[in-house]
Symmetry: C2
Subunit: 144 residues, 2 copies
DNA sequence: ATTTATGCAAATCGTTTGCAAACCT
DNA sequence: AGGTTTGCAAACGATTTGCATAAAT
């Protein structure tokens, strides 16, 4: 995992009056390693820290924009590194059978259409959109 | 609420070996009335039945494709009538401040692009998409 | 009459929180 | 030392479930 990413994250935490402890680093590394959103249980297992600390740290990291909370089709919350850290805008393939969540990117022009739709909605309704969330739901390869 | 919709729902329940009881009818009517996804608590209040029955019936209705479960930005599950019953394909405006969820429709050509993206993903990855979910997250008019 | 739905209260389970000990600066 | 983070165990809250009664067919 790139060292400058660690510095970026450390800075983001510092701006929020938070420390970049070893436990938090382990969490970030687990999320970076996986390439897909992880459930709290998965993070717990991989990050080697107590469950209360895992949840608390995920909360802190979310609060300062390092981690993003993702909701799939099941009851489990999932976590991933913020897109502006990974420089990798993506969407999710959600399996309605096993609940797994995988990353996917879509065509450039679809992204542009999505942006345009957000602008349109902003002008049409009183709602001010900040970002979008596109999920494709279906069956993953192992559940077909 | 149109009578033929009730018949359609009754048929869908019957196919699943389920009955269209008065409690279930009240639930369906509450969802139809609102025009946006309702939380279990809202359904409970409006539908006038015990919470266990509300949850159980929402589950049954979901199981036979009458009701659809929606996940917003908060911890509460939300429910709406299935799109193929309302004949109204739509997406959601999710307020990240108060958690409210409103319906919205987007331009025809965006929908076509979304369909195309699903086909593309299906051919590129081992994933077989069934439907898509597009949410615009931001601030609603009352939270601006 | 038999099967299914209801309501109450208790259980479940992911997540959150209180608190004392360990940690960082 | 002063404030923060950690881990354990207990609390929390939305949702689910067991069971006896009421309703539907």
């Amino acid at each position: 995992m790139p060292e400058d990413l660690h510095h970026l994250i450390a800075a983001r935490l510092r701006d929020d009056g938070q420390r970049y402890t070893s436990g938090r680093r382990r969490l970030v590394e687990a999320l970076d390693r996986s390439g897909r959103p992880l459930t709290a249980a998965e993070v717990l297992e991989d990050g080697e820290l107590a469950q209360s600390s895992a949840y608390r740290n995920l909360s802190v990291l979310e609060g300062c924009g390092v981690v993003h909370r993702v909701s799939g089709a099941d009851e489990f919350g999932r976590f991933e590194l913020a897109e502006d850290l990974t420089e990798h805008h993506h969407h999710h393939l959600i399996c309605t059978s096993c609940g797994s969540v995988a990353d996917v990117t879509v065509a450039e022009d679809l992204e542009r259409s999505l942006e345009a739709a957000m602008v349109e909605v902003a002008s049409t309704t009183g709602f001010r959109p900040d970002h979008h969330r596109l999920d494709l739901l279906g069956r993953c390869a192992s559940c077909l």
